[in-house]
Protein backbone atom coordinates (compact mmCIF):
# COMPACT_ATOMS: atom_id res chain seq x y z
CA UNK A 1 0.00 0.00 0.00
CA UNK A 2 2.70 2.38 1.02
CA UNK A 3 4.64 1.54 -2.13
CA UNK A 4 1.58 2.26 -4.31
CA UNK A 5 1.13 5.61 -2.70
CA UNK A 6 4.70 6.53 -3.45
CA UNK A 7 4.01 5.93 -7.15
CA UNK A 8 0.68 7.75 -7.08
CA UNK A 9 2.02 11.07 -8.46
CA UNK A 10 3.70 9.27 -11.34
CA UNK A 11 0.55 7.27 -12.13
CA UNK A 12 -1.44 10.48 -11.97
CA UNK A 13 0.86 12.21 -14.45
CA UNK A 14 0.86 9.27 -16.85
CA UNK A 15 -2.91 9.10 -16.82
CA UNK A 16 -3.14 12.77 -17.69
CA UNK A 17 -0.71 12.44 -20.53
CA UNK A 18 -2.34 9.37 -22.07
CA UNK A 19 -6.02 10.16 -21.56
CA UNK A 20 -7.88 11.59 -24.53
CA UNK A 21 -5.38 10.82 -27.28
CA UNK A 22 -6.10 7.63 -29.29
CA UNK A 23 -2.97 5.67 -30.16
CA UNK A 24 -1.39 6.67 -33.46
CA UNK A 25 1.40 5.22 -35.50
CA UNK A 26 3.94 6.98 -37.68
CA UNK A 27 4.57 6.07 -41.29
CA UNK A 28 7.11 7.88 -43.44
CA UNK A 29 8.00 7.60 -47.09
CA UNK A 30 11.65 8.05 -47.97
CA UNK A 31 11.81 8.91 -51.66
CA UNK A 32 14.78 8.13 -53.88
CA UNK A 33 14.92 9.49 -57.41
CA UNK A 34 16.48 7.51 -60.23
CA UNK A 35 16.57 7.56 -64.02
CA UNK A 36 16.24 4.10 -65.49
CA UNK A 37 18.04 2.59 -62.51
CA UNK A 38 20.82 5.20 -62.27
CA UNK A 39 20.70 7.67 -59.38
CA UNK A 40 19.20 11.01 -60.39
CA UNK A 41 21.89 13.68 -60.10
CA UNK A 42 20.72 17.17 -61.03
CA UNK A 43 22.74 18.93 -63.74
CA UNK A 44 25.63 16.50 -64.04
CA UNK A 45 23.85 13.16 -64.47
CA UNK A 46 23.49 12.17 -68.15
CA UNK A 47 20.71 9.86 -69.23
CA UNK A 48 19.06 8.41 -72.30
CA UNK A 49 15.29 8.38 -72.77
CA UNK A 50 13.17 5.58 -74.24
CA UNK A 51 13.56 7.22 -77.66
CA UNK A 52 17.36 6.86 -77.30
CA UNK A 53 17.92 10.60 -76.89
CA UNK A 54 20.44 11.99 -74.42
CA UNK A 55 19.23 14.38 -71.73
CA UNK A 56 19.97 15.73 -68.29
CA UNK A 57 17.69 16.96 -65.53
CA UNK A 58 18.06 20.29 -63.74
CA UNK A 59 14.79 20.33 -61.81
CA UNK A 60 12.50 17.57 -60.62
CA UNK A 61 9.58 18.12 -58.28
CA UNK A 62 6.03 16.96 -57.78
CA UNK A 63 3.12 17.05 -55.35
CA UNK A 64 1.86 14.07 -53.37
CA UNK A 65 -1.49 14.28 -51.56
CA UNK A 66 -4.71 12.51 -50.57
CA UNK A 67 -3.11 9.47 -48.95
CA UNK A 68 -4.98 6.35 -47.96
CA UNK A 69 -3.93 2.96 -46.64
CA UNK A 70 -5.60 -0.41 -47.13
CA UNK A 71 -5.53 -2.87 -44.24
CA UNK A 72 -4.81 -6.54 -44.74
CA UNK A 73 -8.53 -7.01 -44.10
CA UNK A 74 -9.32 -4.83 -47.12
CA UNK A 75 -10.52 -1.74 -45.26
CA UNK A 76 -9.44 1.61 -46.69
CA UNK A 77 -8.29 4.25 -44.19
CA UNK A 78 -8.27 7.75 -45.63
CA UNK A 79 -5.61 9.88 -43.95
CA UNK A 80 -6.28 13.51 -42.98
CA UNK A 81 -5.57 16.05 -45.75
CA UNK A 82 -1.86 16.63 -46.30
CA UNK A 83 0.12 18.06 -49.21
CA UNK A 84 3.80 17.43 -49.89
CA UNK A 85 6.03 19.02 -52.49
CA UNK A 86 8.83 16.57 -53.15
CA UNK A 87 11.83 18.31 -54.69
CA UNK A 88 15.05 16.58 -55.75
CA UNK A 89 16.85 19.85 -54.99
CA UNK A 90 15.66 19.81 -51.34
CA UNK A 91 16.76 16.61 -49.58
CA UNK A 92 14.46 17.23 -46.59
CA UNK A 93 11.45 17.25 -48.89
CA UNK A 94 12.15 13.65 -49.90
CA UNK A 95 11.15 12.39 -46.47
CA UNK A 96 7.34 12.47 -46.43
CA UNK A 97 5.88 12.24 -42.93
CA UNK A 98 2.33 11.05 -43.33
CA UNK A 99 -0.35 12.36 -40.99
CA UNK A 100 -1.42 10.23 -38.05
CA UNK A 101 -2.14 6.63 -39.01
CA UNK A 102 -4.15 4.28 -36.79
CA UNK A 103 -2.03 1.30 -35.70
CA UNK A 104 -2.74 -1.85 -37.69
CA UNK A 105 -1.53 -4.12 -40.45
CA UNK A 106 -1.58 -2.65 -43.96
CA UNK A 107 -1.07 -4.16 -47.36
CA UNK A 108 -1.01 -1.10 -49.65
CA UNK A 109 -0.82 2.67 -49.87
CA UNK A 110 -2.51 4.98 -52.32
CA UNK A 111 -1.99 8.67 -53.13
CA UNK A 112 -2.51 11.34 -55.76
CA UNK A 113 0.31 12.79 -57.83
CA UNK A 114 -0.78 16.40 -57.71
CA UNK A 115 -3.22 18.63 -55.86
CA UNK A 116 -6.93 17.76 -55.81
CA UNK A 117 -9.38 19.99 -57.69
CA UNK A 118 -10.85 21.50 -54.51
CA UNK A 119 -7.51 23.00 -53.48
CA UNK A 120 -7.03 24.25 -57.01
CA UNK A 121 -10.08 26.47 -56.55
CA UNK A 122 -9.92 27.48 -52.89
CA UNK A 123 -7.93 30.69 -53.14
CA UNK A 124 -4.67 31.53 -51.41
CA UNK A 125 -2.99 28.52 -49.81
CA UNK A 126 0.05 28.19 -47.63
CA UNK A 127 2.80 25.69 -46.78
CA UNK A 128 3.57 23.27 -49.62
CA UNK A 129 0.75 24.84 -51.61
CA UNK A 130 2.07 28.41 -51.33
CA UNK A 131 2.38 29.80 -54.89
CA UNK A 132 5.81 31.04 -53.82
CA UNK A 133 6.99 27.47 -54.54
CA UNK A 134 6.64 28.13 -58.26
CA UNK A 135 4.10 25.37 -58.75
CA UNK A 136 1.05 27.54 -59.49
CA UNK A 137 -0.03 28.97 -62.84
CA UNK A 138 -0.97 32.62 -62.56
CA UNK A 139 -2.63 33.06 -65.96
CA UNK A 140 -4.86 29.99 -65.68
CA UNK A 141 -5.39 29.24 -62.00
CA UNK A 142 -4.22 25.82 -60.97
CA UNK A 143 -1.32 23.87 -59.60
CA UNK A 144 1.48 22.41 -61.65
CA UNK A 145 1.23 18.84 -60.40
CA UNK A 146 4.75 17.88 -61.43
CA UNK A 147 7.73 19.59 -63.04
CA UNK A 148 10.74 18.20 -64.85
CA UNK A 149 13.26 20.50 -66.52
CA UNK A 150 16.60 19.86 -68.16
CA UNK A 151 18.30 19.85 -71.53
CA UNK A 152 18.64 17.50 -74.46
CA UNK A 153 20.83 18.04 -77.54
CA UNK A 154 17.89 17.10 -79.78
CA UNK A 155 15.54 19.70 -78.28
CA UNK A 156 14.69 22.55 -80.64
CA UNK A 157 14.04 24.95 -77.75
CA UNK A 158 16.44 27.80 -76.98
CA UNK A 159 19.52 26.41 -75.20
CA UNK A 160 18.22 22.89 -75.94
CA UNK A 161 15.89 23.12 -72.98
CA UNK A 162 13.36 20.47 -72.13
CA UNK A 163 10.58 21.74 -69.89
CA UNK A 164 7.63 19.70 -68.72
CA UNK A 165 5.15 21.46 -66.43
CA UNK A 166 2.25 19.07 -66.02
CA UNK A 167 -1.06 20.39 -64.71
CA UNK A 168 -4.78 20.79 -65.31
CA UNK A 169 -7.54 19.55 -63.03
CA UNK A 170 -10.77 19.96 -64.99
CA UNK A 171 -12.70 17.45 -67.05
CA UNK A 172 -10.86 16.05 -70.05
CA UNK A 173 -7.69 17.91 -69.02
CA UNK A 174 -7.47 16.48 -65.52
CA UNK A 175 -3.84 15.51 -65.00
CA UNK A 176 -4.36 14.14 -61.47
CA UNK A 177 -3.26 10.51 -61.24
CA UNK A 178 -3.80 8.08 -58.38
CA UNK A 179 -1.04 5.67 -57.54
CA UNK A 180 -1.53 2.45 -55.62
CA UNK A 181 1.51 0.63 -54.27
CA UNK A 182 1.29 -2.79 -52.63
CA UNK A 183 3.83 -3.42 -49.89
CA UNK A 184 6.16 -6.41 -50.49
CA UNK A 185 4.87 -7.78 -47.18
CA UNK A 186 2.15 -6.43 -44.87
CA UNK A 187 3.34 -3.49 -42.83
CA UNK A 188 2.53 -3.64 -39.13
CA UNK A 189 2.27 -0.18 -37.61
CA UNK A 190 2.47 0.19 -33.85
CA UNK A 191 2.45 3.36 -31.78
CA UNK A 192 5.92 2.54 -30.47
CA UNK A 193 7.90 2.32 -33.67
CA UNK A 194 7.95 4.68 -36.65
CA UNK A 195 8.12 2.84 -39.96
CA UNK A 196 9.84 4.22 -43.04
CA UNK A 197 9.03 2.87 -46.48
CA UNK A 198 11.65 3.23 -49.19
CA UNK A 199 9.91 4.52 -52.32
CA UNK A 200 11.68 4.93 -55.63
CA UNK A 201 10.52 7.40 -58.28
CA UNK A 202 11.98 6.84 -61.73
CA UNK A 203 12.03 9.95 -63.92
CA UNK A 204 12.61 7.70 -66.96
CA UNK A 205 8.94 6.67 -66.67
CA UNK A 206 7.83 10.19 -67.66
CA UNK A 207 8.80 9.58 -71.26
CA UNK A 208 8.52 5.82 -71.52
CA UNK A 209 5.10 4.20 -71.58
CA UNK A 210 2.39 4.00 -72.65
CA UNK A 211 3.47 7.16 -74.55
CA UNK A 212 7.08 7.23 -75.74
CA UNK A 213 8.11 10.90 -75.82
CA UNK A 214 10.83 12.00 -78.22
CA UNK A 215 12.45 15.30 -77.20
CA UNK A 216 13.02 16.00 -80.85
CA UNK A 217 9.25 16.20 -81.31
CA UNK A 218 8.10 17.30 -77.87
CA UNK A 219 10.50 19.25 -75.72
CA UNK A 220 8.12 21.29 -73.61
CA UNK A 221 4.65 21.26 -72.17
CA UNK A 222 3.35 24.08 -70.01
CA UNK A 223 -0.41 24.10 -70.40
CA UNK A 224 -3.18 21.67 -69.47
CA UNK A 225 -4.17 19.53 -72.44
CA UNK A 226 -3.57 16.34 -74.40
CA UNK A 227 0.22 16.46 -74.10
CA UNK A 228 0.09 16.90 -70.33
CA UNK A 229 -2.39 14.01 -70.10
CA UNK A 230 0.01 11.72 -71.98
CA UNK A 231 2.88 12.51 -69.66
CA UNK A 232 0.69 12.13 -66.57
CA UNK A 233 -0.38 8.73 -67.92
CA UNK A 234 3.31 7.89 -68.11
CA UNK A 235 4.50 9.22 -64.77
CA UNK A 236 1.77 7.55 -62.79
CA UNK A 237 3.97 4.45 -63.25
CA UNK A 238 7.13 6.04 -61.87
CA UNK A 239 6.77 4.86 -58.26
CA UNK A 240 7.79 1.55 -56.76
CA UNK A 241 8.52 0.32 -53.26
CA UNK A 242 12.04 -0.87 -52.65
CA UNK A 243 12.03 -4.28 -50.97
CA UNK A 244 14.30 -4.41 -47.94
Amino acid sequence: MRKFLVYLPVVCLCLFLVAGTPPVATLQLQLTHVVNGQPLVLQSGSYTNAASEAFNITLFKYYLSNFSLTTVGGETITLPPAYFLVDEGKPDSKLVKLPAVPPGAYRSISFLIGVDSVRNMSGAQTGALDPVNGMFWTWNSGYIMAKLEGTSPVSKQPANLIEFHIGGFKGARNSLRRVQLTFPQPVRLTPQQAQTMQVVADAYAWFQQPNVISFQQVSSCSTPGAQAMQIADNYQHMFSIKAH
Binding site: R2, L5, V6, L8, P9, C12, L13, F16, N120, M121, S122, G123, A124, Q125, T126, D130, P131, V132, F136, T138, W139, N140, S141, G142, R173, T223, P224, G225
Partner: protein, 350 residues
Protein backbone atom coordinates in the same frame (compact mmCIF):
# COMPACT_ATOMS: atom_id res chain seq x y z
CA UNK B 1 3.30 9.70 4.05
CA UNK B 2 1.95 13.23 4.23
CA UNK B 3 4.68 14.27 1.82
CA UNK B 4 3.31 11.92 -0.84
CA UNK B 5 -0.10 13.58 -0.73
CA UNK B 6 1.46 16.98 -0.92
CA UNK B 7 3.55 15.98 -3.94
CA UNK B 8 0.45 14.50 -5.64
CA UNK B 9 -1.51 17.67 -5.00
CA UNK B 10 1.37 19.76 -6.27
CA UNK B 11 1.56 17.72 -9.48
CA UNK B 12 -2.14 18.16 -10.09
CA UNK B 13 -1.92 21.90 -9.52
CA UNK B 14 1.03 22.10 -11.89
CA UNK B 15 -0.98 20.38 -14.60
CA UNK B 16 -3.91 22.68 -14.02
CA UNK B 17 -1.67 25.70 -14.24
CA UNK B 18 -0.07 24.41 -17.45
CA UNK B 19 -3.50 23.90 -19.03
CA UNK B 20 -4.52 27.40 -17.99
CA UNK B 21 -1.37 28.90 -19.48
CA UNK B 22 -2.00 27.03 -22.71
CA UNK B 23 -5.44 28.51 -23.00
CA UNK B 24 -4.17 32.04 -22.63
CA UNK B 25 -2.19 33.52 -25.47
CA UNK B 26 0.44 35.81 -24.08
CA UNK B 27 -0.41 39.20 -22.68
CA UNK B 28 -3.90 40.45 -23.38
CA UNK B 29 -3.93 42.43 -26.64
CA UNK B 30 -6.78 43.82 -28.67
CA UNK B 31 -7.23 41.44 -31.61
CA UNK B 32 -8.35 42.36 -35.10
CA UNK B 33 -11.81 43.94 -34.93
CA UNK B 34 -14.44 42.14 -37.02
CA UNK B 35 -16.12 44.21 -39.72
CA UNK B 36 -19.60 43.52 -40.99
CA UNK B 37 -19.92 44.32 -44.68
CA UNK B 38 -23.28 45.91 -45.48
CA UNK B 39 -24.70 44.36 -48.63
CA UNK B 40 -27.65 45.83 -50.50
CA UNK B 41 -30.83 43.79 -50.07
CA UNK B 42 -32.13 41.46 -52.76
CA UNK B 43 -28.79 40.27 -54.10
CA UNK B 44 -27.64 36.65 -54.33
CA UNK B 45 -25.12 35.51 -51.72
CA UNK B 46 -21.50 36.39 -52.62
CA UNK B 47 -19.45 33.85 -54.55
CA UNK B 48 -16.45 34.66 -52.38
CA UNK B 49 -16.21 32.49 -49.25
CA UNK B 50 -15.53 34.85 -46.34
CA UNK B 51 -15.39 31.99 -43.81
CA UNK B 52 -11.64 31.52 -44.33
CA UNK B 53 -10.93 35.23 -44.42
CA UNK B 54 -13.37 37.16 -42.21
CA UNK B 55 -13.20 40.91 -42.69
CA UNK B 56 -11.51 42.92 -39.96
CA UNK B 57 -10.77 46.63 -39.78
CA UNK B 58 -7.04 45.92 -39.51
CA UNK B 59 -7.13 43.42 -42.39
CA UNK B 60 -8.90 45.90 -44.65
CA UNK B 61 -6.49 48.69 -43.63
CA UNK B 62 -3.52 46.46 -44.44
CA UNK B 63 -5.08 45.54 -47.79
CA UNK B 64 -5.59 49.19 -48.63
CA UNK B 65 -1.98 49.95 -47.70
CA UNK B 66 -0.73 47.13 -49.91
CA UNK B 67 -3.04 48.21 -52.75
CA UNK B 68 -1.46 51.66 -52.86
CA UNK B 69 2.15 50.67 -52.13
CA UNK B 70 4.49 50.84 -55.16
CA UNK B 71 6.94 48.60 -53.25
CA UNK B 72 4.84 45.70 -54.45
CA UNK B 73 6.36 46.14 -57.92
CA UNK B 74 9.84 45.05 -58.95
CA UNK B 75 11.35 48.54 -59.16
CA UNK B 76 9.00 50.05 -56.56
CA UNK B 77 7.42 52.25 -59.22
CA UNK B 78 3.89 50.91 -59.61
CA UNK B 79 1.14 50.08 -57.13
CA UNK B 80 -2.15 48.29 -57.80
CA UNK B 81 -3.78 51.71 -57.56
CA UNK B 82 -1.50 53.03 -60.32
CA UNK B 83 -3.67 51.29 -62.91
CA UNK B 84 -6.84 50.88 -60.82
CA UNK B 85 -7.87 54.51 -60.31
CA UNK B 86 -10.81 55.25 -58.07
CA UNK B 87 -12.10 58.14 -60.19
CA UNK B 88 -12.33 55.67 -63.11
CA UNK B 89 -14.22 53.14 -60.96
CA UNK B 90 -10.82 51.48 -60.48
CA UNK B 91 -10.21 51.12 -64.19
CA UNK B 92 -7.34 52.94 -65.93
CA UNK B 93 -8.55 56.26 -67.28
CA UNK B 94 -7.47 57.03 -70.83
CA UNK B 95 -5.24 53.96 -71.18
CA UNK B 96 -6.25 51.38 -73.74
CA UNK B 97 -3.76 48.76 -72.56
CA UNK B 98 -2.39 48.05 -69.10
CA UNK B 99 0.91 49.66 -68.21
CA UNK B 100 3.69 48.16 -66.13
CA UNK B 101 7.20 48.57 -64.79
CA UNK B 102 9.84 50.13 -67.08
CA UNK B 103 7.17 51.54 -69.36
CA UNK B 104 6.06 48.11 -70.47
CA UNK B 105 2.62 47.71 -72.02
CA UNK B 106 0.37 44.66 -71.75
CA UNK B 107 -2.18 43.31 -74.19
CA UNK B 108 -5.45 44.03 -72.42
CA UNK B 109 -7.24 46.92 -70.79
CA UNK B 110 -7.49 47.33 -67.03
CA UNK B 111 -10.80 46.02 -65.68
CA UNK B 112 -12.81 48.04 -63.16
CA UNK B 113 -12.90 46.84 -59.56
CA UNK B 114 -16.21 46.65 -57.71
CA UNK B 115 -18.82 44.04 -56.80
CA UNK B 116 -16.01 41.49 -57.13
CA UNK B 117 -17.32 39.25 -54.36
CA UNK B 118 -20.09 38.07 -56.68
CA UNK B 119 -17.67 37.10 -59.45
CA UNK B 120 -16.56 33.50 -59.73
CA UNK B 121 -13.76 34.05 -62.26
CA UNK B 122 -11.51 36.98 -63.04
CA UNK B 123 -9.56 38.53 -65.92
CA UNK B 124 -10.98 39.12 -69.41
CA UNK B 125 -10.68 35.42 -70.16
CA UNK B 126 -11.84 34.15 -66.75
CA UNK B 127 -8.49 32.42 -66.21
CA UNK B 128 -8.31 33.19 -62.48
CA UNK B 129 -10.69 31.16 -60.36
CA UNK B 130 -10.67 32.85 -56.96
CA UNK B 131 -10.67 36.49 -55.83
CA UNK B 132 -7.85 35.79 -53.37
CA UNK B 133 -5.33 34.75 -55.97
CA UNK B 134 -6.35 37.34 -58.56
CA UNK B 135 -3.58 39.79 -57.45
CA UNK B 136 -0.95 37.11 -58.17
CA UNK B 137 -1.27 37.71 -61.90
CA UNK B 138 -0.63 41.49 -62.09
CA UNK B 139 1.98 41.24 -59.31
CA UNK B 140 4.12 38.75 -61.20
CA UNK B 141 3.35 39.53 -64.85
CA UNK B 142 6.54 41.00 -66.37
CA UNK B 143 4.43 43.57 -68.24
CA UNK B 144 2.70 44.70 -65.06
CA UNK B 145 4.34 44.80 -61.64
CA UNK B 146 7.01 42.30 -62.68
CA UNK B 147 7.70 41.13 -59.13
CA UNK B 148 8.89 37.71 -58.00
CA UNK B 149 6.48 36.52 -55.33
CA UNK B 150 9.23 35.10 -53.09
CA UNK B 151 11.21 38.33 -53.34
CA UNK B 152 8.10 40.34 -52.49
CA UNK B 153 7.40 38.30 -49.37
CA UNK B 154 11.02 38.82 -48.26
CA UNK B 155 10.75 42.54 -48.96
CA UNK B 156 7.62 42.81 -46.83
CA UNK B 157 9.12 40.67 -44.06
CA UNK B 158 12.10 43.04 -43.88
CA UNK B 159 9.76 46.00 -43.34
CA UNK B 160 9.03 46.68 -39.66
CA UNK B 161 5.93 48.68 -40.55
CA UNK B 162 4.45 45.76 -42.46
CA UNK B 163 5.32 43.30 -39.69
CA UNK B 164 3.33 45.49 -37.33
CA UNK B 165 0.39 45.76 -39.72
CA UNK B 166 0.32 42.02 -40.40
CA UNK B 167 0.33 41.41 -36.66
CA UNK B 168 -2.57 43.79 -36.21
CA UNK B 169 -4.49 42.11 -39.03
CA UNK B 170 -3.69 38.46 -38.39
CA UNK B 171 -2.44 38.19 -34.80
CA UNK B 172 1.24 37.51 -35.49
CA UNK B 173 4.02 39.18 -37.45
CA UNK B 174 4.26 36.26 -39.86
CA UNK B 175 4.08 37.43 -43.48
CA UNK B 176 3.11 34.81 -46.07
CA UNK B 177 1.68 35.09 -49.56
CA UNK B 178 -1.60 33.76 -48.18
CA UNK B 179 -1.85 36.65 -45.70
CA UNK B 180 -0.81 39.14 -48.39
CA UNK B 181 -3.53 37.91 -50.75
CA UNK B 182 -6.16 37.71 -48.04
CA UNK B 183 -5.45 41.27 -46.90
CA UNK B 184 -5.72 42.65 -50.44
CA UNK B 185 -8.92 40.62 -50.84
CA UNK B 186 -10.34 42.14 -47.68
CA UNK B 187 -9.83 45.61 -49.13
CA UNK B 188 -11.18 44.99 -52.63
CA UNK B 189 -14.08 42.93 -51.25
CA UNK B 190 -15.43 46.09 -49.63
CA UNK B 191 -15.64 47.87 -53.00
CA UNK B 192 -19.37 47.67 -53.54
CA UNK B 193 -21.20 49.86 -56.03
CA UNK B 194 -24.99 49.83 -55.77
CA UNK B 195 -25.75 53.50 -55.12
CA UNK B 196 -26.30 54.83 -58.62
CA UNK B 197 -29.34 56.80 -59.71
CA UNK B 198 -30.57 53.62 -61.37
CA UNK B 199 -30.46 51.87 -57.97
CA UNK B 200 -32.40 54.73 -56.34
CA UNK B 201 -35.06 54.52 -59.04
CA UNK B 202 -35.31 50.74 -58.62
CA UNK B 203 -35.59 51.15 -54.85
CA UNK B 204 -38.29 53.76 -55.43
CA UNK B 205 -36.35 56.26 -53.34
CA UNK B 206 -38.56 59.31 -52.72
CA UNK B 207 -38.13 62.09 -55.23
CA UNK B 208 -35.92 60.12 -57.64
CA UNK B 209 -37.15 59.26 -61.11
CA UNK B 210 -35.71 58.71 -64.57
CA UNK B 211 -36.03 61.62 -66.97
CA UNK B 212 -38.09 60.76 -70.07
CA UNK B 213 -34.85 60.21 -72.05
CA UNK B 214 -33.36 57.98 -69.38
CA UNK B 215 -36.59 56.01 -69.25
CA UNK B 216 -36.54 55.53 -73.04
CA UNK B 217 -32.91 54.49 -72.76
CA UNK B 218 -33.81 51.94 -70.08
CA UNK B 219 -36.41 50.41 -72.41
CA UNK B 220 -33.83 50.19 -75.22
CA UNK B 221 -31.32 48.69 -72.80
CA UNK B 222 -33.82 46.04 -71.74
CA UNK B 223 -34.65 45.19 -75.33
CA UNK B 224 -31.17 45.20 -76.83
CA UNK B 225 -28.50 44.86 -74.14
CA UNK B 226 -29.91 43.21 -71.02
CA UNK B 227 -29.63 39.61 -72.25
CA UNK B 228 -25.87 39.75 -71.67
CA UNK B 229 -25.56 42.80 -69.42
CA UNK B 230 -28.10 41.38 -67.01
CA UNK B 231 -29.42 43.36 -64.05
CA UNK B 232 -28.60 43.94 -61.26
CA UNK B 233 -24.89 43.35 -61.93
CA UNK B 234 -25.22 44.46 -65.56
CA UNK B 235 -23.31 41.36 -66.59
CA UNK B 236 -24.32 37.70 -66.68
CA UNK B 237 -20.67 36.81 -65.91
CA UNK B 238 -20.48 34.80 -69.14
CA UNK B 239 -17.86 34.79 -71.94
CA UNK B 240 -19.00 35.73 -75.41
CA UNK B 241 -17.70 36.67 -78.82
CA UNK B 242 -19.39 40.04 -79.40
CA UNK B 243 -18.21 40.36 -83.00
CA UNK B 244 -15.38 42.74 -82.22
CA UNK B 245 -12.97 42.54 -85.18
CA UNK B 246 -9.88 40.41 -84.47
CA UNK B 247 -6.62 42.36 -84.36
CA UNK B 248 -3.70 40.30 -85.75
CA UNK B 249 -1.04 42.35 -83.98
CA UNK B 250 -2.54 41.57 -80.56
CA UNK B 251 -3.54 38.02 -81.54
CA UNK B 252 -5.71 37.66 -78.45
CA UNK B 253 -7.75 34.48 -78.76
CA UNK B 254 -9.61 35.15 -75.49
CA UNK B 255 -11.00 32.36 -73.40
CA UNK B 256 -9.75 29.66 -75.77
CA UNK B 257 -6.33 30.07 -74.13
CA UNK B 258 -7.87 29.03 -70.81
CA UNK B 259 -10.17 26.19 -71.82
CA UNK B 260 -8.22 24.91 -74.83
CA UNK B 261 -11.58 24.72 -76.64
CA UNK B 262 -11.94 26.18 -80.12
CA UNK B 263 -15.55 26.90 -79.12
CA UNK B 264 -14.16 29.66 -76.89
CA UNK B 265 -12.19 31.39 -79.64
CA UNK B 266 -12.46 35.20 -79.31
CA UNK B 267 -14.72 34.96 -76.29
CA UNK B 268 -14.21 37.49 -73.51
CA UNK B 269 -15.96 38.28 -70.27
CA UNK B 270 -19.14 40.35 -70.53
CA UNK B 271 -18.11 43.45 -68.57
CA UNK B 272 -20.46 45.19 -66.17
CA UNK B 273 -22.05 48.41 -67.39
CA UNK B 274 -22.09 49.95 -63.93
CA UNK B 275 -19.95 53.11 -63.85
CA UNK B 276 -19.43 52.59 -67.58
CA UNK B 277 -19.24 56.27 -68.47
CA UNK B 278 -16.48 56.70 -65.87
CA UNK B 279 -14.41 53.75 -67.02
CA UNK B 280 -13.46 54.45 -70.63
CA UNK B 281 -11.77 53.02 -72.69
CA UNK B 282 -13.89 50.04 -73.70
CA UNK B 283 -13.48 46.42 -74.86
CA UNK B 284 -10.83 43.94 -73.71
CA UNK B 285 -8.16 45.82 -75.64
CA UNK B 286 -9.48 49.29 -74.85
CA UNK B 287 -9.82 50.15 -78.53
CA UNK B 288 -12.80 52.47 -78.04
CA UNK B 289 -12.44 55.71 -76.11
CA UNK B 290 -16.03 56.88 -76.52
CA UNK B 291 -19.18 54.94 -75.69
CA UNK B 292 -20.69 56.02 -79.04
CA UNK B 293 -17.94 54.04 -80.78
CA UNK B 294 -19.23 51.03 -78.87
CA UNK B 295 -22.81 51.70 -80.00
CA UNK B 296 -21.62 51.97 -83.60
CA UNK B 297 -19.58 48.80 -83.29
CA UNK B 298 -22.72 46.87 -82.35
CA UNK B 299 -24.83 48.66 -84.94
CA UNK B 300 -22.47 48.37 -87.93
CA UNK B 301 -19.16 46.71 -87.02
CA UNK B 302 -19.94 43.14 -86.03
CA UNK B 303 -17.44 40.72 -87.58
CA UNK B 304 -18.74 37.25 -88.34
CA UNK B 305 -16.84 34.21 -87.14
CA UNK B 306 -17.56 30.65 -86.04
CA UNK B 307 -18.02 31.57 -82.39
CA UNK B 308 -20.01 34.80 -82.79
CA UNK B 309 -22.76 35.15 -80.24
CA UNK B 310 -26.23 34.62 -81.75
CA UNK B 311 -27.48 37.71 -79.90
CA UNK B 312 -25.18 40.05 -81.84
CA UNK B 313 -24.81 38.04 -85.04
CA UNK B 314 -27.07 40.38 -87.00
CA UNK B 315 -25.82 43.50 -85.27
CA UNK B 316 -27.84 45.62 -82.88
CA UNK B 317 -29.61 48.38 -84.73
CA UNK B 318 -29.41 51.66 -82.82
CA UNK B 319 -30.66 54.92 -84.36
CA UNK B 320 -29.05 58.22 -83.41
CA UNK B 321 -31.94 58.99 -81.10
CA UNK B 322 -31.73 55.57 -79.48
CA UNK B 323 -28.00 55.95 -78.96
CA UNK B 324 -28.52 59.25 -77.19
CA UNK B 325 -31.23 57.76 -74.98
CA UNK B 326 -29.08 54.77 -74.21
CA UNK B 327 -26.26 57.12 -73.24
CA UNK B 328 -28.57 58.94 -70.86
CA UNK B 329 -29.60 55.66 -69.29
CA UNK B 330 -26.01 54.42 -68.93
CA UNK B 331 -25.25 57.70 -67.20
CA UNK B 332 -27.65 56.66 -64.43
CA UNK B 333 -25.37 53.67 -63.72
CA UNK B 334 -22.64 55.96 -62.42
CA UNK B 335 -22.26 55.68 -58.65
CA UNK B 336 -20.79 59.01 -57.50
CA UNK B 337 -20.73 57.89 -53.87
CA UNK B 338 -18.56 54.91 -54.78
CA UNK B 339 -16.15 56.96 -56.82
CA UNK B 340 -15.80 59.52 -54.03
CA UNK B 341 -15.85 57.07 -51.11
CA UNK B 342 -12.99 58.03 -48.78
CA UNK B 343 -12.72 54.45 -47.51
CA UNK B 344 -11.14 53.40 -50.81
CA UNK B 345 -9.15 56.51 -51.63
CA UNK B 346 -5.41 56.51 -52.19
CA UNK B 347 -3.24 56.79 -49.11
CA UNK B 348 0.26 58.17 -49.07
CA UNK B 349 2.75 55.38 -48.47
CA UNK B 350 5.81 56.61 -46.58
Amino acid sequence: MKAVYIITLFCLLLLLAATEANNRRGPVMPGPEPYQLELPPGLPPPAYDFSQNPLTRQGMALGRHLFYDPKLSRDSSISCGFCHQQFAAFGHFDHALAHGVEGRIGTRSVPTLFNLIWQKNFMWDGGVNNLEIQPLTPLTDPNEMGMDLGALIKRLQADAGYRKMFKAAFGTEEITSQRLFRAITQFVATMISFQSKYDSVMRKAPGVAFTPEEQEGYVIFQQKCAACHREPFFTDFSYRNNGLPYLPNLNDVGRMRITGSTGDYLKFKVPTLRNILKSSPYMHDGRFIDIYQVFNQYAHGVQQSATIDPLVKNGIALSGKEQRELYMFLNTLTDPGFIANKAYSEILIQ
